[in-house]
Amino acid sequence: MDFSLTDEQNKLRQEVRDFLDQKLKSGAFQITSNGWIESFSQDFSREMSRKGWIGMTWPKEFGGQEGTYLDRAILMEEMLRYQAPIGYHFLSDRQVGPAIIHFGSKDQKETILPKIINAEVSFALGFSEPDAGSDLVSVRTSATEEGDHYIINGQKVWTTGAHRADYIWTLVRTDPNAAKKHKGLSEFIIDLKSPGVTVRPIINMAGVHSFNEVFFDNVKVPKENMVGEKNRGFYQIMAQMDYERAGLERLMQNYPLFEYLVEYVKKEKRNGEPMCKDPKVRNTLAQLEIEYQIGRLFCYQVAWTLTQGRLPNYEAALCKAYCTQFEKRLSDAATRILGLYGQLMPGSKWAPFQGDAASSYLWSVSYTLQGGTVEVLKNIIAMRGLGLPLG
């Protein structure tokens, strides 16, 4: 057992921090909860690319660094601590690239992976549909073979960043007659500029245009844009999910709020005494600190497992379920500790730390829903991790 990092890993962390400190000073971004995915900057992503921080764990043959998942965890931990604007490449780096490495054709690997690594292309993920949320098997968007193309028809929803990305990575139905519904799905890469694609914004309750509906009306997609095997898309996605669920981004979406809050209660006085002397405040923040440290251990445990060359089984689901619930408690506790100030939104006069608490309380609704609800994750833990029977 060893809970320390190697000198090299510490060096990497310092390097990332130095980079971010410098960018922060130059005004490239601000530290705001939920900012990491909302801020979309190809320039910033290009700079990260030059550092070798995109595709960090990928094989060298695809332009990667062959770094470990622990290295990537360290990188991500710092990115999230600073809430650096990594929205442009984040999904491609975390999910699209690894999926192509696992399932893509030689051609896809050669054409797409370098573009991702060089921050020349941005991806959105199109899995959910109006009637297929937790129940992905019910996906209805169809792909029909026609010559050297597929014709895509249907609708995706909750597509983060589709209004800014170049491509959308989708799960669609290629065999409407499959006896088992999950055996008729395939994965496609679709150019969002294709004729017949319409992107309609959805404004979330925090007032932000973060996700979209994406409509496909007879969209022609070349056959070579199918990823992996026809009708095996569901299985491919299940494997990809473990990567999606593993990351520190599930723990640190609103991490700045925690640091702001701890600093705030140390300085801010109420009737002459620093707020941190209030036993309730102390108890709450200590509990959050413990929960945060545990979440961090969960995340690093998953990264360590991946680094060992093993796939996290139930642990990725457990990590995400635990961490997203922590983030919710954090945002609620922050608003309560701030009292009346806890209701002040970004941009408001008198708002402590730019209204991060109130804003995060709104965003937090999505934490336990996105990428598998807490309930679905718990079922996965029970069935896959503990061997309990199908419910």
Binding site: G342, S366, Q370
Partner: protein, 376 residues
């Protein structure tokens, strides 16, 4: 013991429900909270015509002399539709102190005007230290030739931008206790008053109100000099329970929306309401909502009977603060992504729940009061 409403109360409830459902749909709510004014003068007038602003004021001022319980019923319906506007400020925060502490002249000056929907009034009590206790009052009223000079900053003052008058809680004698605090009814257009809007989570209108050498006369004093806190103290259980009544209505509606959604929304080939996890969320929600209702109405009834209600009010606010929030959070979890959108209505309740939890003190604040009342 009687957990039911009487016939008039049933009528009041039904009338209010029908009227508000028609006049205050969520589309209206969403528009209004984005609007700078934050209320509709037309709707305001209609509400006055229904007698709502006068519901609990004496007949001599044009009121209906209803009980506090009646008012709670009305407020529950307002919370049920997220009614925006200055009703709470004007009737509860403005009207009640005047009724309690006002001179005959002040009552005649203000109450009929409130009842008729002509006057909007608010209360400026909290300051940058964000407390509702006497030691949180630092705005000063210094004696001058003509009366008093108000100096200082009030924060989180609701509806200050549309209020004709602001009741200002100020310190006339040095100290940190309740003694030495005086209330002033101040014309909001008096020289030296400036308002800056705050952006709040629920979209309700709150303001920083700065008093820069604001000159007021002795006639503006509400109640006795140095003894203004007693007025606040007297109405405070009503303020708290009035807010709880709104929370009951909001929680009820959140529950209904969620149950309906759970019946309609299908995943895995059947309504999600058949999933045990969803059933348990919903069962927890109805338990929370019923508890909110009973504990709030027990407090409202206690106030109506003019019995001591400090403990009852704090029990209600402590519970509702957590429970309404929990209900909306569970509701969101059942709704999934759709509830996270601005198009949907649930977020209005989710936001109100957080806002109202923080207003007038959250669970911890009120647990401390309950502890004191328990003799701890």
């Amino acid at each position: 013991m009687d957990f039911g409403l009487n016939e008039e109360q049933e009528i009041l409830k039904k009338t209010a429900h029908n009227f508000l459902t028609k006049e205050c749909p969520t589309s209206f709510v969403k528009e209004t909270i984005k609007d700078e004014k934050g209320y509709s003068p037309e709707l305001w007038q209609k509400m006055a015509e229904l007698g709502w602003m006068g519901l609990i004021f004496p007949e001599q001022y044009g009121g209906m002399e209803g009980s506090f319980l009646d008012l709670a019923i009305l407020l529950e319906e307002m919370g049920n539709v997220c009614l925006p506007g200055p009703f709470f400020s004007t009737v509860i925060l403005g009207g009640l102190p005047i009724l309690k502490g006002g001179s005959d002249k002040q009552k005649e000056d203000f109450l009929p005007s409130i009842v008729e929907g002509k006057s909007i009034i608010t209360l400026a009590i909290t300051e940058p230290c964000a407390k509702y206790t006497p030691n949180g009052i630092e705005v000063r009223a210094t004696k001058s030739d003509k009366g008093y000079i108000l100096e200082g900053t009030k924060l989180f003052v609701p509806d200050a931008h549309i209020a004709n008058h602001i009741i200002v809680v100020a310190r006339t004698t040095e100290g940190t206790g309740a003694d030495g605090i005086t209330l002033f009814i101040v014309d909001s257009k008096t020289t030296g008053i400036s308002c800056s809007p705050l952006l709040t989570i629920a979209g309700d209108k709150q303001f920083e109100v700065v008093f820069d050498k604001v000159s007021v006369s002795k006639d503006n004093i509400l109640g006795a000099i140095d003894n203004g806190w007693s007025v606040i103290e007297a109405i405070w259980p009503k303020v708290i329970v009035a807010k709880c009544a709104e929370m009951v209505g909001g929680a009820q509606k959140s529950l209904e929306m969620t149950v309906n959604y759970a019946k309609e929304r299908k995943q895995f080939g059947r309504p999600i309401g058949a999933l045990q996890a969803v059933q348990h969320y919903c069962a927890d929600m109805v338990s929370d909502v019923d508890a909110c209702r009973y504990i709030t109405y027990m407090a409202a009834w206690t106030i109506s009977k003019e019995l001591p209600a400090i403990k009852e009010a704090s029990m209600a606010k402590a519970w509702c603060s957590d429970a309404f929030k929990r209900v909306t959070a569970n509701g969101q979890q059942v709704h999934g992504a759709i509830g996270f959108t601005e198009e949907h209505d649930l977020h209005l309740y989710y936001k109100n729940a957080k806002s109202w939890e923080l207003l007038f003190g959250d669970r911890d604040v009120h647990c401390e009061i309950v502890a004191e009342q328990m003799g701890l």
